[in-house]
Amino acid sequence: MNAKDFETYARRYKDTVYRVALNFMGNPQDAEDAVQEVLMKLYLSHDIFEGEEHVKRWMIRVTLNYCKNLARAASRRMPTPPEELALSVPFEAEEQIALFTAVMGLPEKYRVPLYLFYYEDYSVKEIGRILGLGESAVTTRLSRARTMLRYELEEVSM
């Protein structure tokens, strides 16, 4: 990958990496570490990418792998309480704070599929491939996440 492409993708997807890592690890310091680590891996990668979507998925998968390895480490940081996390984000509305807090209060295995589905617009099938899960497992996790959020937010299902 040439330098120009790398800079384009790095700027364009560093927030994606951050959000995936934050959803996985639950604390912003690990998420920032993941951003720098994944961008460096991209820069040093010898892989040949077939298009921008391939790059993005590669970055998401590398982020998840990095987070999994970090989660196994004895030195991993504890997740930051959702309410405290929300304070560090410049939300513009109370409902955004409420949603963010509720989502970050979910178990990690629900947060990542939720993010890939609702923010990154991946299909259940694509999420299954990214996470190494069957489609029914992804469907179940999304469904359970929505049920948990429904109770948490006291709203009708979306």
Binding site: E7, R19, A31, L44, H46, K68, L114, V124, T139
Partner: protein, 882 residues
């Protein structure tokens, strides 16, 4: 929560890292192939040089010093192997100074570029067969012009373990740079023969490898797990498991070199084309579409103009309109609009046709809808299919003429392909599910002997308001054999197919758990025990059908709300088993005619006798008198945990287990400031929390004695909450033996009445269906003093009363609006009013609906505003309605 809200919310979540290109340029960039990088092309050369079965050195050189550096990290070096054009080209490219194309050209190789994405079915069509069995995920593939393709897959064992892999089929004679991460550590290598193919296998700690030389191509599988497993990517596997994966592939199909047809060269637009005026272009019916002979092209719908009084259709690209026009038709009627345009193959020639619906008003004022079908005639030409249109218009009621109806009509014109060697729709059932119209298709094939059929899949399509099948599915395709798992009995057609003697009996729809929602039964065949069916129950929480169980000769009794199964034993005697739905809607075995009932914990009263001993000793061991049951050691037999103590800090749980039919003491553990949970794996966890100091331990039995294993320990911040690592165990009073005896609601009331004899204690009971399963829960209100009033809640959905926990009864009444049951708290002294909705999720749950303060008594009308009426209770001795 809406998608927009989610996106708006998380769009504010951004990294604080400020990108600086110099940070990366300073990093040491490896310009040559890393010492331990594996190259697919080089592996091709290796295999050609050594042959797959050269086990002395190993096909990847993993164990031999002859091939250079060893695996001592994440990747594997291939340097030092025999020269091949592929490996030489790769070295020159990776060494820098040459582009991939230059390196390939130097060695007479092609460079693979521009892969096309094929879904699994397209790939198998191309290769002429299934490339693996159904234990593998049906994944899409990226395929190059020479037939090289890559796909990410996963494999699932019947015991629930699964792992992921990347499969790469490289056609010899071309290169693509790829360096898969293959993990660390040492590998165990061997080979296995699958059919006529030698497959080499290498089993590592976190990665494993599989490779085969298929003559014209090479297949390499990077398995994302090994003996140690790799977290979510893969469960640990052994040699046998890797061989199982190898045998799940169809190597002869993988050896078939085939590539997708080259993309159509787009037609060149000639001439100045037609000038179209924007005011007549119906942008809602303009589409970018792939048409035979044109490639990707813009389809333009052009409304009537003064020059031509009917709709016309054109094609354009890059702003230039072709002078090709779809056959213009002038009906002489007034065109009022184009309700729909669709592109699909209705002529069966494999090319997309153009379907257009046009609304007209005749001179006499009558409105009607017309259909156009333009089919590809070659070289970019399209013609009008008058006969097809005529047939469709004759067959379809004009008031119901829409794209779905047209599609269904053309689909129906073709014979369903239910051949002996092809799957097709065997049977269709239309029904309503929770207000939605569903079309269930049972897909399978006919037995070769013509004596029956086998169902392989269930497809649930949503129907539109006209009852026509749409393209929307209720849930992903159900593979009957996969989802029935160990219950599945293969039919004569093979391990993926059921057995059914009649098409009508292939699938049935009916409410098996009495929740008012349709469930599905699939014929499994008939054995000596009787005819059995696999049942899928609708799960509202998950929004799909979930496989539940297999029953023999089962019937659902709506009145008794029970399902009975009749099973013929070897001696010909019929045993009747009774199942009832629990609060989740799952069918649970209750009893059978031979007297074997769903046995409560403790067998025939052993635990009840223990509890009676505690009661007889009275308060001597403390005023806390609760118990619960839990299977601490996962052996299927529940232990009895009796809590006792004088205060919260003093609590302990004494444990009894069953041994040789007797309840024996197994030890004791501290329950001060603690709660017990059962996690997803069934482990019992104790969460002990005091002043922000939280510790979580697993409580189990080892050799019949209590054992405690610390899971975690942390100090909570001010705003932290204690962990809830599973479903909380429900404790109930010693006097309530419902957990250790089969009790009815009336028995529970008897027990409560016997346990609370203080004349100052009032006891009333209520019935209310809080989880809307059609069975009412029992609420027993114990009124000892203003601060300790509480409701004990029970459910008998399984046929015996079981506790669901306790909710506050202080200044509280129960009310219902006919659907939801509420707990209504009102305190005229403080002016507080709180209303909670009650439910069931592992135990009784409460959810705050409203909370108001500072109210005058006449303002406490929250219950009225909900339209809820107070539920009448009964004195303990009044057993009406039970």
């Amino acid at each position: 929560m809406s998608k927009n809200l989610y996106r708006d919310t998380f769009s504010h979540v951004r990294s604080a890292y400020e990108f600086n290109m110099e940070d990366f340029q300073k990093a040491k960039k490896v310009t040559k192939l890393p010492e331990k990088a594996l190259i697919i092309a080089a592996v091709v050369a290796v295999l050609a040089a050594f042959g797959i079965t050269a086990s002395a050195t190993g096909f990847f050189g993993l164990s031999s010093p002859a091939v250079g550096d060893k695996t001592n990290g994440d990747d594997l070096s291939m340097q030092g192997f025999a020269e091949s054009p592929e490996s030489a080209a790769m070295r020159e490219y990776m060494g820098g100074g040459m582009t991939l194309e230059e390196a390939a050209g130097k060695y007479g190789l092609e460079v693979r570029t521009d892969p096309v994405v094929l879904d699994y079915d397209e790939l198998t069509d191309l290769l002429g067969g299934e490339i693996h069995d159904d234990r593998n995920l049906r994944a899409q593939a990226y395929i190059y012009g020479d037939g090289t393709f890559a796909m990410d897959g996963s494999f699932a064992f019947s015991d629930g373990r699964s792992f992921s892999y990347s499969l790469y089929r490289a056609v010899k004679g071309s290169i693509t740079a790829s360096a898969p991460y293959i993990g660390e550590g040492e590998y165990d290598e061997w080979s296995v023969k699958v059919g006529r193919t030698d497959v080499s296998l290498a089993l590592g700690g976190r990665r494993s490898l599989m490779a085969a030389d298929l003559g014209g191509c090479y297949v390499f599988v990077n398995v994302l797990t090994g003996t140690l497993g790799d977290g979510d990517l893969g469960a640990p596997i052994g040699r046998g498991d890797l061989e199982t994966l190898a045998k799940s592939f169809n190597w002869s199909v993988l050896s078939h070199i085939a590539a997708p047809e080259p993309q159509e060269e787009p037609q060149v637009l000639h001439g100045a084309g037609v000038e179209l005026k924007e005011e007549y272009i119906d942008r809602d019916q303009c589409f970018l579409v792939n048409l035979t002979g044109w490639g990707k092209i813009n389809f333009i719908t052009y409304l009537p103009t003064p020059e031509f009084a009917d709709a016309r259709f054109f094609l354009s690209r890059d702003g230039k309109v072709s002078d090709f026009e779809f056959p213009p038709i002038l009906t002489g009627e007034s065109c009022k609009g184009i309700p729909a345009v669709s592109f699909e193959d209705v002529t069966g020639d494999g090319a997309a046709d153009v379907l257009v619906l046009i609304d007209y008003v005749s001179a006499s004022g009558g409105a009607h809808r017309d259909l156009r079908v333009f089919s590809a005639r070659g070289q970019g030409d399209f013609g009008m299919e008058w006969e097809l249109v005529s047939g469709a218009l004759s067959a379809i009621d004009n008031s119901k003429l829409n794209v779905a109806a047209v599609r269904n009509y053309f689909a129906g014109n073709r014979e369903p392909a239910i051949l002996e060697n092809t799957d097709g729709v065997l049977w269709t059932v239309k029904y309503t599910l929770d207000g939605r119209d569903v079309i269930l298709e049972a897909v399978g094939r006919k037995q070769e002997d013509g004596q029956g059929w086998g169902v392989k899949e269930l497809r649930f399509w949503l129907a539109d308001s006209e009852g026509n099948k749409t393209t929307q599915m209720l849930q992903p395709v159900v593979s009957v054999a996969s989802e029935a798992g160990e219950d599945f009995v293969p039919g004569p057609l093979g391990k993926q197919y059921t057995r059914c003697g009649t098409l009508e009996g292939a699938v049935t729809v009916g409410d098996m758990n009495f929740d008012g929602l349709a469930d599905i039964g699939v014929s499994g065949g008939a054995g000596e025990e009787g005819a059995f069916r696999y049942y899928w129950l609708w799960n509202s929480g998950e929004g799909r059908y979930v496989y539940a169980l297999t029953l023999t000769d089962a019937t659902a009794d709506e009145t008794a709300k029970a399902v009975t199964e009749r099973v013929r034993g070897a001696d010909g005697r019929i045993t009747v088993n009774v199942y009832k739905p629990d609060w989740r809607g799952d069918l649970k075995f209750v009893r059978s005619e031979d007297g074997q009932e769903g046995v409560p914990a403790g067998g025939d009263g052993a635990y009840a006798r223990v509890l009676q001993d505690f009661l007889d000793r009275g308060e001597s061991e403390g005023s806390y008198r609760e118990y619960t049951v839990a299977d601490l050691d996962g052996d299927g037999v529940e232990e009895l945990l009796v809590k006792q103590g004088f205060n919260e800090a003093d609590l302990a749980a004494r444990v009894y287990t069953m041994r040789d039919g007797q309840a024996v003491e197994a030890g004791e553990f501290d329950m001060g400031h603690s709660m017990l949970y059962v996690d997803e794996s069934g482990a019992v966890l104790r969460v002990m929390g005091l002043m922000g100091d939280e510790s979580i331990d697993r409580i189990t039995l080892v050799d019949g004695n209590i054992s405690r294993e610390e899971i975690s320990h942390r100090f909570l911040g001010e705003e932290d909450s204690y962990a809830a690592p599973g479903t909380a165990l429900i404790w109930t009073d010693w006097g309530d033996r419902s957990l250790v005896e089969t009790m009815s609601y009336s028995d529970v009331l008897d027990a409560v009445q016997a346990g609370y004899t203080d004349p100052g204690t009032t006891i009333r009971w209520y019935l209310a269906d809080i989880d809307r399963d059609g069975t009412e829960e029992l609420f027993v209100k114990i009124g000892e003093n203003e601060w300790n009033d509480r409701f004990l809640v029970y459910s008998d959905a399984t046929g015996r009363a079981l506790p669901l926990g306790t909710v506050s009864g202080r200044k509280t009444t129960l009310a219902t609006d006919g659907e939801t049951v509420y707990s209504v708290y009102t305190d005229p002294e403080s002016g507080d009013e709180s209303i909670y909705a009650l439910g069931v999720d592992g135990g009784v749950t409460i959810r705050e609906i409203s909370h108001r303060t500072g109210l005058r008594a006449e303002e406490m009308d929250g219950q009225n505003k909900l339209g809820a009426v107070t539920i009448t209770g009964f004195e303990i001795s009044d057993r009406r309605g039970l």
